[in-house]
Protein backbone atom coordinates (compact mmCIF):
# COMPACT_ATOMS: atom_id res chain seq x y z
CA UNK A 1 0.00 0.00 0.00
CA UNK A 2 1.38 3.39 -0.96
CA UNK A 3 2.24 5.62 1.93
CA UNK A 4 0.42 8.96 1.98
CA UNK A 5 1.62 11.96 3.91
CA UNK A 6 -1.23 12.99 6.17
CA UNK A 7 -1.10 16.76 6.66
CA UNK A 8 -4.68 17.22 7.85
CA UNK A 9 -3.57 17.54 11.47
CA UNK A 10 -0.81 20.06 10.70
CA UNK A 11 -1.90 23.51 11.73
CA UNK A 12 -1.36 26.25 9.19
CA UNK A 13 1.39 28.82 9.50
CA UNK A 14 0.15 31.43 11.97
CA UNK A 15 -0.15 34.97 10.61
CA UNK A 16 2.12 36.36 13.35
CA UNK A 17 4.95 34.14 12.16
CA UNK A 18 4.47 35.32 8.56
CA UNK A 19 4.68 38.94 9.76
CA UNK A 20 7.80 38.16 11.81
CA UNK A 21 9.48 36.57 8.78
CA UNK A 22 8.63 39.56 6.60
CA UNK A 23 9.99 41.99 9.20
CA UNK A 24 13.19 39.98 9.35
CA UNK A 25 13.47 40.13 5.55
CA UNK A 26 13.37 43.92 5.87
CA UNK A 27 16.42 44.26 8.10
CA UNK A 28 18.35 40.98 7.93
CA UNK A 29 19.33 41.30 4.27
CA UNK A 30 22.31 43.21 2.92
CA UNK A 31 20.26 45.89 1.12
CA UNK A 32 17.77 46.37 3.97
CA UNK A 33 20.51 46.44 6.60
CA UNK A 34 22.55 49.14 4.83
CA UNK A 35 19.44 51.18 4.10
CA UNK A 36 18.62 51.19 7.83
CA UNK A 37 22.22 52.14 8.66
CA UNK A 38 21.97 55.01 6.15
CA UNK A 39 18.70 56.20 7.71
CA UNK A 40 20.19 56.20 11.22
CA UNK A 41 23.40 57.90 10.00
CA UNK A 42 21.46 60.70 8.28
CA UNK A 43 19.30 61.29 11.40
CA UNK A 44 22.29 61.34 13.74
CA UNK A 45 24.33 63.72 11.53
CA UNK A 46 21.46 66.18 10.97
CA UNK A 47 20.36 66.12 14.63
CA UNK A 48 23.99 66.40 15.74
CA UNK A 49 24.50 69.58 13.69
CA UNK A 50 21.14 70.90 14.94
CA UNK A 51 22.21 70.19 18.54
CA UNK A 52 25.55 72.00 18.09
CA UNK A 53 23.77 74.99 16.52
CA UNK A 54 21.23 75.11 19.38
CA UNK A 55 23.88 74.93 22.08
CA UNK A 56 26.26 77.44 20.43
CA UNK A 57 23.44 79.97 19.92
CA UNK A 58 21.78 79.17 23.28
CA UNK A 59 18.47 78.84 21.40
CA UNK A 60 15.34 77.70 23.21
CA UNK A 61 14.45 74.16 22.14
CA UNK A 62 11.49 71.79 22.41
CA UNK A 63 11.34 68.00 22.42
CA UNK A 64 8.95 68.56 19.51
CA UNK A 65 11.75 70.03 17.36
CA UNK A 66 14.11 67.09 17.70
CA UNK A 67 11.39 64.45 17.27
CA UNK A 68 10.05 66.35 14.27
CA UNK A 69 13.43 66.61 12.50
CA UNK A 70 14.27 62.96 13.25
CA UNK A 71 10.93 61.65 12.01
CA UNK A 72 11.04 63.86 8.90
CA UNK A 73 14.57 62.78 7.94
CA UNK A 74 13.63 59.12 8.39
CA UNK A 75 10.45 59.45 6.36
CA UNK A 76 12.35 59.89 3.06
CA UNK A 77 14.07 56.52 2.96
CA UNK A 78 11.73 54.24 4.90
CA UNK A 79 9.24 53.71 2.02
CA UNK A 80 12.14 52.21 0.03
CA UNK A 81 12.18 49.45 2.64
CA UNK A 82 8.47 48.79 2.01
CA UNK A 83 9.24 48.66 -1.72
CA UNK A 84 12.08 46.17 -1.27
CA UNK A 85 9.86 44.00 0.92
CA UNK A 86 7.81 43.29 -2.21
CA UNK A 87 10.29 43.58 -5.08
CA UNK A 88 13.12 41.58 -3.51
CA UNK A 89 10.91 38.49 -3.70
CA UNK A 90 11.25 38.82 -7.46
CA UNK A 91 14.76 40.20 -7.82
CA UNK A 92 16.29 37.77 -5.30
CA UNK A 93 13.87 35.02 -6.39
CA UNK A 94 12.89 34.24 -2.81
CA UNK A 95 9.25 34.27 -3.96
CA UNK A 96 9.73 30.65 -5.07
CA UNK A 97 10.31 29.65 -1.45
CA UNK A 98 7.88 32.15 0.08
CA UNK A 99 4.93 31.01 -2.00
CA UNK A 100 5.79 27.32 -1.63
CA UNK A 101 5.76 27.52 2.17
CA UNK A 102 2.59 29.61 2.16
CA UNK A 103 0.73 29.05 -1.10
CA UNK A 104 -2.10 31.42 -0.12
CA UNK A 105 -0.47 34.47 -1.62
CA UNK A 106 -2.99 36.88 -0.14
CA UNK A 107 -1.78 35.95 3.37
CA UNK A 108 1.82 36.69 2.39
CA UNK A 109 0.86 40.04 0.86
CA UNK A 110 -1.13 40.94 3.99
CA UNK A 111 1.82 39.94 6.17
CA UNK A 112 4.06 42.23 4.11
CA UNK A 113 1.61 45.10 4.44
CA UNK A 114 1.41 44.61 8.22
CA UNK A 115 5.24 44.47 8.36
CA UNK A 116 5.45 47.75 6.40
CA UNK A 117 3.06 49.42 8.86
CA UNK A 118 4.98 47.99 11.84
CA UNK A 119 8.12 49.58 10.35
CA UNK A 120 6.29 52.91 10.49
CA UNK A 121 5.59 52.34 14.19
CA UNK A 122 9.25 51.47 14.77
CA UNK A 123 10.27 54.60 12.82
CA UNK A 124 8.13 56.70 15.15
CA UNK A 125 9.41 55.02 18.31
CA UNK A 126 13.04 55.48 17.24
CA UNK A 127 12.37 59.15 16.40
CA UNK A 128 10.85 59.61 19.88
CA UNK A 129 13.78 57.90 21.63
CA UNK A 130 16.39 59.85 19.62
CA UNK A 131 14.46 63.06 20.25
CA UNK A 132 14.37 62.40 24.00
CA UNK A 133 18.13 61.69 24.04
CA UNK A 134 19.03 64.92 22.24
CA UNK A 135 16.61 66.91 24.39
CA UNK A 136 18.22 65.35 27.48
CA UNK A 137 21.62 66.72 26.37
CA UNK A 138 20.06 70.18 25.99
CA UNK A 139 18.35 69.80 29.39
CA UNK A 140 21.73 69.12 31.01
CA UNK A 141 23.54 72.00 29.28
CA UNK A 142 20.83 74.68 29.22
CA UNK A 143 17.95 73.62 31.51
CA UNK A 144 16.21 77.02 31.37
CA UNK A 145 15.87 76.99 27.60
CA UNK A 146 14.78 73.38 27.19
CA UNK A 147 11.16 72.32 27.18
CA UNK A 148 9.75 68.81 27.03
CA UNK A 149 6.67 69.86 25.14
CA UNK A 150 5.51 67.31 22.57
CA UNK A 151 2.46 67.92 20.40
CA UNK A 152 0.26 64.85 20.10
CA UNK A 153 -1.20 66.17 16.84
CA UNK A 154 2.23 66.26 15.19
CA UNK A 155 2.98 62.69 16.25
CA UNK A 156 -0.38 61.41 15.04
CA UNK A 157 -0.10 63.43 11.83
CA UNK A 158 3.32 62.05 11.11
CA UNK A 159 2.17 58.50 11.78
CA UNK A 160 -0.81 58.72 9.41
CA UNK A 161 1.05 60.44 6.53
CA UNK A 162 4.05 58.14 6.85
CA UNK A 163 1.75 55.08 6.83
CA UNK A 164 0.14 56.40 3.64
CA UNK A 165 3.62 56.86 2.12
CA UNK A 166 4.53 53.28 3.06
CA UNK A 167 1.35 51.93 1.48
CA UNK A 168 1.99 54.13 -1.59
CA UNK A 169 5.47 52.63 -2.01
CA UNK A 170 4.02 49.18 -1.42
CA UNK A 171 1.39 49.72 -4.14
CA UNK A 172 3.97 50.89 -6.69
CA UNK A 173 6.18 47.91 -5.83
CA UNK A 174 3.32 45.42 -6.39
CA UNK A 175 2.63 47.07 -9.75
CA UNK A 176 6.21 46.96 -11.07
CA UNK A 177 7.82 44.07 -9.12
CA UNK A 178 11.26 45.60 -9.83
CA UNK A 179 13.35 47.46 -7.26
CA UNK A 180 15.04 50.29 -9.23
CA UNK A 181 11.95 51.04 -11.32
CA UNK A 182 9.72 51.16 -8.21
CA UNK A 183 12.15 53.48 -6.42
CA UNK A 184 12.25 55.88 -9.38
CA UNK A 185 8.46 55.83 -9.78
CA UNK A 186 7.96 56.35 -6.04
CA UNK A 187 10.18 59.45 -6.10
CA UNK A 188 8.17 60.79 -9.03
CA UNK A 189 4.94 60.01 -7.14
CA UNK A 190 5.96 61.58 -3.85
CA UNK A 191 8.33 64.43 -4.76
CA UNK A 192 8.17 65.31 -8.47
CA UNK A 193 4.40 65.25 -9.09
CA UNK A 194 3.56 67.66 -6.23
CA UNK A 195 6.13 70.08 -7.71
CA UNK A 196 4.56 69.76 -11.16
CA UNK A 197 1.04 70.20 -9.74
CA UNK A 198 2.18 73.22 -7.74
CA UNK A 199 3.91 74.83 -10.73
CA UNK A 200 0.92 74.26 -13.01
CA UNK A 201 -1.53 75.53 -10.37
CA UNK A 202 0.51 78.72 -9.94
CA UNK A 203 0.19 79.61 -13.64
CA UNK A 204 -3.42 78.60 -14.25
CA UNK A 205 -6.50 79.37 -12.21
CA UNK A 206 -8.37 76.56 -13.96
CA UNK A 207 -5.76 74.00 -12.94
CA UNK A 208 -5.61 75.48 -9.46
CA UNK A 209 -9.27 74.58 -8.95
CA UNK A 210 -8.75 71.02 -10.22
CA UNK A 211 -5.39 70.32 -8.53
CA UNK A 212 -6.68 69.64 -4.97
CA UNK A 213 -8.75 66.74 -6.33
CA UNK A 214 -5.69 65.24 -8.08
CA UNK A 215 -2.79 66.04 -5.77
CA UNK A 216 -2.70 63.32 -3.11
CA UNK A 217 0.41 64.68 -1.40
CA UNK A 218 -1.08 68.17 -1.04
CA UNK A 219 -4.32 66.67 0.28
CA UNK A 220 -2.26 65.08 3.05
CA UNK A 221 -0.69 68.35 4.19
CA UNK A 222 -3.65 68.96 6.51
CA UNK A 223 -3.17 65.57 8.14
CA UNK A 224 0.49 66.41 8.67
CA UNK A 225 -0.50 69.43 10.71
CA UNK A 226 -3.45 67.47 12.18
CA UNK A 227 -5.92 70.12 11.06
CA UNK A 228 -7.94 68.09 8.57
CA UNK A 229 -11.50 69.31 8.82
CA UNK A 230 -14.48 70.22 6.70
CA UNK A 231 -16.23 68.39 3.92
CA UNK A 232 -13.99 69.78 1.16
CA UNK A 233 -10.69 68.68 2.70
CA UNK A 234 -12.00 65.19 3.40
CA UNK A 235 -13.42 64.96 -0.12
CA UNK A 236 -10.08 66.02 -1.66
CA UNK A 237 -8.26 63.43 0.43
CA UNK A 238 -10.67 60.62 -0.44
CA UNK A 239 -10.84 61.37 -4.19
CA UNK A 240 -7.09 61.85 -4.69
CA UNK A 241 -6.38 58.92 -2.36
CA UNK A 242 -8.68 56.67 -4.36
CA UNK A 243 -6.86 57.70 -7.53
CA UNK A 244 -3.28 57.40 -6.25
CA UNK A 245 -3.52 54.75 -3.53
CA UNK A 246 -6.57 52.49 -3.86
CA UNK A 247 -6.42 51.99 -7.63
CA UNK A 248 -2.68 51.18 -7.86
CA UNK A 249 -2.89 48.96 -4.78
CA UNK A 250 -5.86 47.02 -6.16
CA UNK A 251 -4.24 46.52 -9.57
CA UNK A 252 -0.92 45.64 -7.92
CA UNK A 253 -2.53 43.09 -5.56
CA UNK A 254 -4.37 41.53 -8.47
CA UNK A 255 -1.07 41.27 -10.32
CA UNK A 256 0.90 39.81 -7.41
CA UNK A 257 -1.79 37.16 -6.81
CA UNK A 258 -1.46 36.05 -10.42
CA UNK A 259 2.14 36.83 -11.45
CA UNK A 260 4.16 33.81 -12.48
CA UNK A 261 6.88 33.15 -9.95
CA UNK A 262 10.13 32.07 -11.60
Amino acid sequence: MAQALDLTATSRVPFTRLVRVELRKAWDTRAGFWLLIAIVAIVVVVLGIALIITLVHSDPVLLDDFVGIAAYMMSFLLPFLAIMLVTSEWSQRSALVTFSLEPRRSRVVMAKLVAALLLTVINLVVALVVGVLFTLVCELVQPDLTSWHLSGGNVAGFFVTQSLAMVGGFAIATLLLNTPASIVLFVVYRFVLPGVFGALASISTWFESVAPWLDFQAAQSNIYEWTLSGRDQWAHLLVSGFLWLVVPLAVGMWRILRAEVK
Binding site: L35, V45, A50, M73, F76, F80, V187, G195, I203, S204
Partner: protein, 266 residues
Amino acid sequence: MSATTAPMAMDLSSTPQVPMSRLALVEARKALDTRAGRWLIVGILGLVLVIEVIYSFAADNDAKGLQDYIQIPGFTLGYFLPIVIIMLVTSEASQRNGLVTFTLEPKRSRIVLAKFIAGIGLALSVMVLAVVLAVLGTLLGLVTGGDSSWHVDGGLLFYALFLSNMIGIFIGFALSMLIMNTAGAIVAYFVYTLILPTAVAILSSLSSTFEDIAPWIEFNTAQAPLVSSPYSPAGEEWAQIATSGAIWLLLPLVLGIWRLLRIEFK
Protein backbone atom coordinates in the same frame (compact mmCIF):
# COMPACT_ATOMS: atom_id res chain seq x y z
CA MET B 1 58.11 13.10 -37.34
CA SER B 2 55.43 15.75 -37.35
CA ALA B 3 54.28 14.64 -33.88
CA THR B 4 56.73 16.98 -32.18
CA THR B 5 56.03 20.23 -34.01
CA ALA B 6 56.22 23.36 -31.88
CA PRO B 7 52.87 24.48 -30.40
CA MET B 8 51.06 27.06 -32.51
CA ALA B 9 51.09 30.59 -31.12
CA MET B 10 48.45 33.13 -32.03
CA ASP B 11 50.21 36.25 -33.24
CA LEU B 12 48.12 39.24 -32.13
CA SER B 13 50.88 41.83 -32.38
CA SER B 14 49.57 43.22 -35.65
CA THR B 15 45.90 43.27 -34.53
CA PRO B 16 44.94 46.91 -33.97
CA GLN B 17 43.49 48.01 -30.64
CA VAL B 18 39.69 48.36 -30.44
CA PRO B 19 39.13 51.99 -31.48
CA MET B 20 37.70 54.31 -28.82
CA SER B 21 34.85 55.32 -31.13
CA ARG B 22 33.66 51.71 -31.27
CA LEU B 23 33.83 51.36 -27.49
CA ALA B 24 31.83 54.55 -27.03
CA LEU B 25 29.21 53.40 -29.57
CA VAL B 26 28.87 50.08 -27.75
CA GLU B 27 28.35 51.88 -24.45
CA ALA B 28 25.74 54.20 -25.97
CA ARG B 29 23.96 51.16 -27.33
CA LYS B 30 23.97 49.53 -23.87
CA ALA B 31 22.11 52.56 -22.54
CA LEU B 32 19.50 52.64 -25.32
CA ASP B 33 19.11 49.06 -26.48
CA THR B 34 18.31 47.46 -23.13
CA ARG B 35 14.85 47.13 -21.64
CA ALA B 36 15.47 49.35 -18.62
CA GLY B 37 17.41 52.05 -20.49
CA ARG B 38 14.93 52.34 -23.34
CA TRP B 39 11.89 52.65 -21.07
CA LEU B 40 13.61 55.17 -18.86
CA ILE B 41 14.43 57.46 -21.80
CA VAL B 42 10.94 57.00 -23.28
CA GLY B 43 9.57 57.79 -19.79
CA ILE B 44 11.63 60.99 -19.43
CA LEU B 45 10.70 62.35 -22.85
CA GLY B 46 7.06 61.27 -22.35
CA LEU B 47 6.88 63.11 -19.03
CA VAL B 48 8.32 66.27 -20.65
CA LEU B 49 5.75 65.97 -23.45
CA VAL B 50 2.80 65.50 -21.06
CA ILE B 51 3.82 68.50 -18.94
CA GLU B 52 4.25 70.65 -22.05
CA VAL B 53 0.81 69.74 -23.38
CA ILE B 54 -0.85 70.47 -20.01
CA TYR B 55 1.16 73.68 -19.79
CA SER B 56 -0.02 74.78 -23.25
CA PHE B 57 -3.64 74.54 -22.18
CA ALA B 58 -3.25 75.74 -18.61
CA ALA B 59 -0.77 78.61 -18.79
CA ASP B 60 -1.63 82.25 -19.35
CA ASN B 61 -1.15 83.37 -22.93
CA ASP B 62 1.71 85.75 -22.19
CA ALA B 63 3.70 82.94 -20.46
CA LYS B 64 4.00 80.71 -23.51
CA GLY B 65 7.36 81.79 -24.87
CA LEU B 66 10.17 79.42 -25.86
CA GLN B 67 11.95 80.41 -22.64
CA ASP B 68 9.04 79.06 -20.53
CA TYR B 69 8.95 75.80 -22.43
CA ILE B 70 12.70 75.24 -22.11
CA GLN B 71 12.40 75.46 -18.33
CA ILE B 72 10.17 72.35 -18.32
CA PRO B 73 12.81 69.89 -19.64
CA GLY B 74 15.47 71.76 -17.66
CA PHE B 75 13.59 70.85 -14.47
CA THR B 76 12.54 67.32 -15.50
CA LEU B 77 15.84 66.12 -16.98
CA GLY B 78 17.78 66.97 -13.84
CA TYR B 79 15.94 64.27 -11.95
CA PHE B 80 16.26 61.42 -14.41
CA LEU B 81 19.22 61.82 -16.75
CA PRO B 82 21.71 60.74 -14.04
CA ILE B 83 19.73 57.50 -13.62
CA VAL B 84 20.48 56.59 -17.26
CA ILE B 85 24.16 57.07 -16.45
CA ILE B 86 23.89 55.09 -13.20
CA MET B 87 22.46 52.11 -15.10
CA LEU B 88 25.18 52.41 -17.75
CA VAL B 89 27.76 51.65 -15.04
CA THR B 90 25.94 49.41 -12.56
CA SER B 91 24.45 47.08 -15.18
CA GLU B 92 28.00 45.82 -15.79
CA ALA B 93 27.75 44.27 -12.32
CA SER B 94 24.01 43.55 -12.02
CA GLN B 95 23.57 42.04 -15.49
CA ARG B 96 27.07 40.56 -15.26
CA ASN B 97 28.15 41.82 -18.67
CA GLY B 98 31.24 43.24 -17.00
CA LEU B 99 32.74 39.80 -17.55
CA VAL B 100 32.42 40.20 -21.31
CA THR B 101 33.16 43.92 -21.43
CA PHE B 102 36.47 43.66 -19.61
CA THR B 103 37.51 40.52 -21.45
CA LEU B 104 37.10 42.15 -24.85
CA GLU B 105 38.83 45.32 -23.63
CA PRO B 106 41.01 44.51 -20.64
CA LYS B 107 42.27 48.10 -20.30
CA ARG B 108 39.54 49.21 -17.93
CA SER B 109 40.47 52.87 -18.07
CA ARG B 110 39.50 52.87 -21.76
CA ILE B 111 36.04 51.48 -20.85
CA VAL B 112 35.64 54.20 -18.22
CA LEU B 113 36.55 56.83 -20.82
CA ALA B 114 34.18 55.23 -23.35
CA LYS B 115 31.36 55.30 -20.79
CA PHE B 116 32.05 58.98 -20.09
CA ILE B 117 31.99 59.79 -23.81
CA ALA B 118 28.80 57.77 -24.34
CA GLY B 119 27.14 59.33 -21.29
CA ILE B 120 27.98 62.88 -22.34
CA GLY B 121 26.88 62.14 -25.92
CA LEU B 122 23.56 60.72 -24.70
CA ALA B 123 22.99 63.66 -22.39
CA LEU B 124 23.68 66.13 -25.20
CA SER B 125 21.26 64.32 -27.53
CA VAL B 126 18.54 64.25 -24.86
CA MET B 127 19.09 67.99 -24.29
CA VAL B 128 18.83 68.70 -28.03
CA LEU B 129 15.66 66.60 -28.14
CA ALA B 130 14.33 68.53 -25.16
CA VAL B 131 14.93 71.83 -26.96
CA VAL B 132 13.18 70.43 -30.05
CA LEU B 133 10.25 69.43 -27.81
CA ALA B 134 10.29 72.93 -26.32
CA VAL B 135 10.08 74.44 -29.83
CA LEU B 136 7.16 72.13 -30.64
CA GLY B 137 5.61 73.13 -27.30
CA THR B 138 5.94 76.80 -28.22
CA LEU B 139 4.20 76.09 -31.53
CA LEU B 140 1.42 74.35 -29.59
CA GLY B 141 1.36 77.43 -27.36
CA LEU B 142 0.80 79.54 -30.50
CA VAL B 143 -2.08 77.31 -31.57
CA THR B 144 -3.70 77.52 -28.12
CA GLY B 145 -3.64 81.31 -28.30
CA GLY B 146 -0.32 82.35 -26.77
CA ASP B 147 1.59 85.43 -27.95
CA SER B 148 4.74 83.38 -28.24
CA SER B 149 8.12 84.97 -27.89
CA TRP B 150 11.12 83.17 -29.32
CA HIS B 151 13.57 84.98 -27.09
CA VAL B 152 15.80 82.71 -25.00
CA ASP B 153 18.20 83.79 -22.29
CA GLY B 154 21.63 82.35 -23.12
CA GLY B 155 22.38 81.96 -19.42
CA LEU B 156 19.32 79.73 -18.97
CA LEU B 157 20.40 77.55 -21.86
CA PHE B 158 24.03 77.24 -20.78
CA TYR B 159 23.85 77.17 -16.97
CA ALA B 160 20.42 75.70 -16.17
CA LEU B 161 20.02 73.26 -19.06
CA PHE B 162 23.59 72.35 -19.99
CA LEU B 163 25.93 72.86 -17.04
CA SER B 164 23.65 71.74 -14.18
CA ASN B 165 22.61 68.60 -16.08
CA MET B 166 26.26 67.82 -16.93
CA ILE B 167 27.12 68.09 -13.23
CA GLY B 168 24.20 65.75 -12.48
CA ILE B 169 25.57 63.23 -14.96
CA PHE B 170 28.98 63.21 -13.36
CA ILE B 171 27.35 62.77 -9.95
CA GLY B 172 25.57 59.75 -11.44
CA PHE B 173 28.92 58.38 -12.67
CA ALA B 174 30.57 58.91 -9.30
CA LEU B 175 27.79 57.29 -7.22
CA SER B 176 27.32 54.33 -9.56
CA MET B 177 31.04 53.49 -9.62
CA LEU B 178 31.23 53.82 -5.84
CA ILE B 179 28.19 51.65 -5.10
CA MET B 180 28.09 49.35 -8.18
CA ASN B 181 24.45 48.39 -7.57
CA THR B 182 21.54 49.91 -9.50
CA ALA B 183 19.00 50.25 -6.68
CA GLY B 184 21.65 51.34 -4.18
CA ALA B 185 23.10 54.00 -6.49
CA ILE B 186 19.62 55.35 -7.33
CA VAL B 187 18.74 55.62 -3.64
CA ALA B 188 22.09 57.34 -2.98
CA TYR B 189 21.40 59.75 -5.83
CA PHE B 190 18.02 60.70 -4.33
CA VAL B 191 19.59 61.10 -0.90
CA TYR B 192 22.11 63.40 -2.58
CA THR B 193 19.58 65.54 -4.47
CA LEU B 194 16.50 65.43 -2.20
CA ILE B 195 17.49 64.73 1.39
CA LEU B 196 20.73 66.74 1.61
CA PRO B 197 19.09 70.02 0.47
CA THR B 198 16.17 69.40 2.88
CA ALA B 199 18.56 68.85 5.77
CA VAL B 200 20.45 72.02 4.81
CA ALA B 201 17.17 73.96 4.66
CA ILE B 202 16.16 72.77 8.15
CA LEU B 203 19.56 73.57 9.63
CA SER B 204 19.74 76.94 7.83
CA SER B 205 16.43 77.92 9.39
CA LEU B 206 17.99 77.24 12.80
CA SER B 207 21.13 79.29 12.27
CA SER B 208 22.12 82.11 9.94
CA THR B 209 25.78 81.14 10.40
CA PHE B 210 25.01 77.72 8.96
CA GLU B 211 23.07 79.37 6.15
CA ASP B 212 26.21 81.33 5.21
CA ILE B 213 28.43 78.24 5.35
CA ALA B 214 26.01 75.88 3.57
CA PRO B 215 26.80 76.86 -0.06
CA TRP B 216 30.50 76.21 0.61
CA ILE B 217 29.95 72.67 1.85
CA GLU B 218 26.73 71.50 0.15
CA PHE B 219 26.76 71.08 -3.61
CA ASN B 220 23.02 71.44 -4.33
CA THR B 221 22.86 74.71 -2.41
CA ALA B 222 25.93 75.98 -4.25
CA GLN B 223 24.32 75.15 -7.61
CA ALA B 224 21.20 77.23 -6.93
CA PRO B 225 22.57 80.29 -8.85
CA LEU B 226 22.95 78.07 -11.93
CA VAL B 227 19.29 77.15 -12.10
CA SER B 228 17.57 80.29 -10.89
CA SER B 229 17.09 83.67 -12.51
CA PRO B 230 19.14 85.71 -13.56
CA TYR B 231 21.31 82.72 -14.56
CA SER B 232 24.65 84.49 -14.11
CA PRO B 233 26.66 83.23 -11.12
CA ALA B 234 29.08 85.74 -9.63
CA GLY B 235 32.69 85.23 -8.53
CA GLU B 236 31.90 84.11 -4.99
CA GLU B 237 29.23 81.73 -6.24
CA TRP B 238 31.72 80.10 -8.60
CA ALA B 239 34.09 79.69 -5.66
CA GLN B 240 31.29 77.98 -3.71
CA ILE B 241 30.53 75.66 -6.63
CA ALA B 242 34.23 74.78 -6.89
CA THR B 243 34.68 74.14 -3.16
CA SER B 244 31.53 72.10 -2.56
CA GLY B 245 32.04 70.41 -5.94
CA ALA B 246 35.49 69.23 -4.85
CA ILE B 247 33.92 67.54 -1.81
CA TRP B 248 30.76 66.13 -3.38
CA LEU B 249 31.78 65.52 -6.99
CA LEU B 250 35.53 65.34 -7.49
CA LEU B 251 36.29 63.19 -4.44
CA PRO B 252 33.58 60.53 -5.09
CA LEU B 253 34.46 60.54 -8.79
CA VAL B 254 38.14 59.82 -8.11
CA LEU B 255 37.30 57.13 -5.53
CA GLY B 256 34.71 55.65 -7.91
CA ILE B 257 37.10 55.41 -10.86
CA TRP B 258 39.75 53.92 -8.61
CA ARG B 259 37.22 51.32 -7.47
CA LEU B 260 35.98 50.45 -10.97
CA LEU B 261 39.56 49.87 -12.11
CA ARG B 262 40.10 47.33 -9.31
CA ILE B 263 36.72 45.72 -8.56
CA GLU B 264 36.40 41.96 -9.12
CA PHE B 265 33.77 41.16 -11.73
CA LYS B 266 32.09 37.83 -11.18
